[in-house]
């Protein structure tokens, strides 16, 4: 019969080895690919891929926020609402967008004036979502259903033939207003 001290040591060592093996197995087989926080942040960002935050797209910005190197208030299309949601998710303090950056723009899509287009393909290369079709020295056109309105195609155009047009109001995208409450006359 072993002395009690050795029994205890053996039992403790056994438990430690078993748990260590379990943890080691889990670390290999249940490894989480990528940072799940990035996915959550990316889901909040508006996916315009406009680069106004200083990063080359929404995913890179999400990665920068997750690693702590970027602030949560850089996304202009997301607006203050987006910044607030991000701050809530990360438990950071809410910071409003930099002054002058908040421009609540209605949703717009790029439109190429096809008569002026010279077919230089520069806008095609600039489009982050491949929403412009065309070929060299052929007229280009924007697939408006896919356009995010990021405006990245505007600066490269040498003939300034791209303009952003507001989405037309249709019965499908028309919204009911918040019910107006009549003022109560008290005197």
């Amino acid at each position: 019969m072993l002395p009690p001290i050795l029994t205890a040591l053996l039992i403790m060592t056994g438990i430690a080895l078993a748990l260590g093996a379990a943890l080691g197995y889990a670390a290999v087989h249940f490894k989480v690919e990528g940072n799940p926080l990035v996915e959550q942040i990316d889901a909040i960002l508006p996916q315009t891929q406009c680069g106004q935050c200083g990063y080359p797209g929404c995913k890179p910005y999400a990665e920068a926020i997750a690693s702590g190197e970027a602030e949560t208030n850089l996304c202009t299309p997301g607006g203050d609402d987006g910044a607030r949601t991000l701050a809530e998710l990360l438990g950071r303090e809410f910071k409003p967008l930099a002054a002058g950056a908040v421009v609540e723009k209605p949703k717009a899509v790029a439109l190429i004036d096809e008569a002026s287009c010279i077919g230089c393909t520069l806008c095609i290369q600039a489009c982050p979502v491949d929403a412009i079709v065309g070929a060299a020295r052929q007229m280009h056109t924007v697939v408006s259903k896919l356009c995010t309105g990021c405006e990245l195609c505007l600066p490269p155009c040498p003939v300034d033939c791209i303009a952003l047009v507001e989405e037309p109001r249709t019965p499908q995208n028309w919204k009911w207003k918040y019910p107006a409450t009549g003022l109560r006359v008290v005197a």
Binding site: P46, P171, W176
Partner: protein, 509 residues
Amino acid sequence: MIARLFSFRGGIRPDSHKKESSGAPIRPVPLPARLVVPLIQSSRGGARPIVTVGDKVLKGQCIGEAEGKTGTAIHAPTSGTVSEIGRYPMAHPSGLESPAIVITPDGEERWIAHEPLDLATASRDELILRIQASGIVGMGGATFPSHIKIGKDSTIETLVINGAECEPWITCDDRLMRERAADVVRGAMILRRLNGARRVLVGIEDNKPEAIAAMSAAARARMDTEDADGGARIDIVTVPTRYPAGGERQLVRVLTGIEIPANRIAGDFGVQCFNAGTAHAVCRALVHGEAMVARIVTVTGDVERPGNYEVPLGFPVADLLALCGVRPGVDRVLMGGPMMGFTLPKLDAPITKGSNCIIAASPGLFPPAPPEQPCIRCGRCARACPAGIQPFDLYWFSRSRNFDKAGEYHIFDCIECGCCAYVCPAHIPLVDYFRFAKSEIRARDEERRAASQARARFEFHTFRLEREKAEKAARLAAKAAETRASLSAAAKADAAEQNVAPPPPKPPT
């Protein structure tokens, strides 16, 4: 006959106000200076114009071809000239403009040659195609294309014809069933043949005894004379007057006892429901070869001559009101009934396939709503709700823009019948809140869909750029290796040449 009636939950009994307009027979209207026929007149897609400005058209001639599988055709409501194809205000709460074809009538009302189908020989597909080509949509107001509904391949046991017309003030289906019962029954039997139902139930509220009598006589006559129906029965069933008994789910419940769950449709339970007006239109289209060019509209409220009028589609509402003599004091005009209708933002909007009623509202008849007071959670709205949801909860969520929660509490089961707002002691415009929340949720879902599409496209874009870069690098590396190889080969060859004697020069050729 059916053994017994069932009851739906909730509901209200508002003053019916049917007497004002139900007395006089359906009257025709004189042609206006122009008819503005919108290209979109159904809830699922529109039509593509096939005429150009200056074309002469005949009454019933197709001027807009059905777009895609879900579209429905539109037809010239009278003979005349196409004077414009442009954008005009539509009969919609937004007052937005939609593409429309303007026809200047020539006053002759010349019909295009009627081409009725031979019902005995025509196949099911032919009949359904004709329903689409005749531009038939649900006439109860929802304007769902009938060819889609009837073309579904579900097994149907019971066809329900909705003649309940539960909404106050409206009497167009009442007059239609009184005066054209034979055609309604005939249309119902054609629909029955198309969906294969074994019985037809026509539900009519008990405040329309004349319509019930006329429809019963027509049904008896049909069953006595026609033996083509394969022994299928058509029964006229009197249902108790309780708003909204004319809602599809409510009427199906009352007549068959089936309670259709959320996110399912009546067809899943072997029932299909069509409005009496739709059955009539099907009969006109298939038996008489007349496309849908007019509908019966109730004009009522504060007007001199209330009643039901057979109005060509595209007839401006303002002209219709002028015809009926608007009394002074009318401050707004409702399209549809007072419960589910909406205030028309512009009176030059045209009558379309779904416009069943025009009400000239004055503060005397429709007093302005008293100011909204705080909700005290009395629960009356929940007891009145026929959809079985909790309006007071949804009210809090909609009001605070907590849309996730509103969705969780099934806001999309709300049929916007207005029972909750009607009974609310605090005069809260509950339906307005729900409409607001629903449209916000729809817009948000659309945004999310667009965002996830943009995300996928951006990811592919980055992947593509990297792939191209890698391919280019690989190509360059291969090229470099090739050049290196050929250079070293050349160097070797040179070295060999110096060791060995040069080959004899080639003889000149």
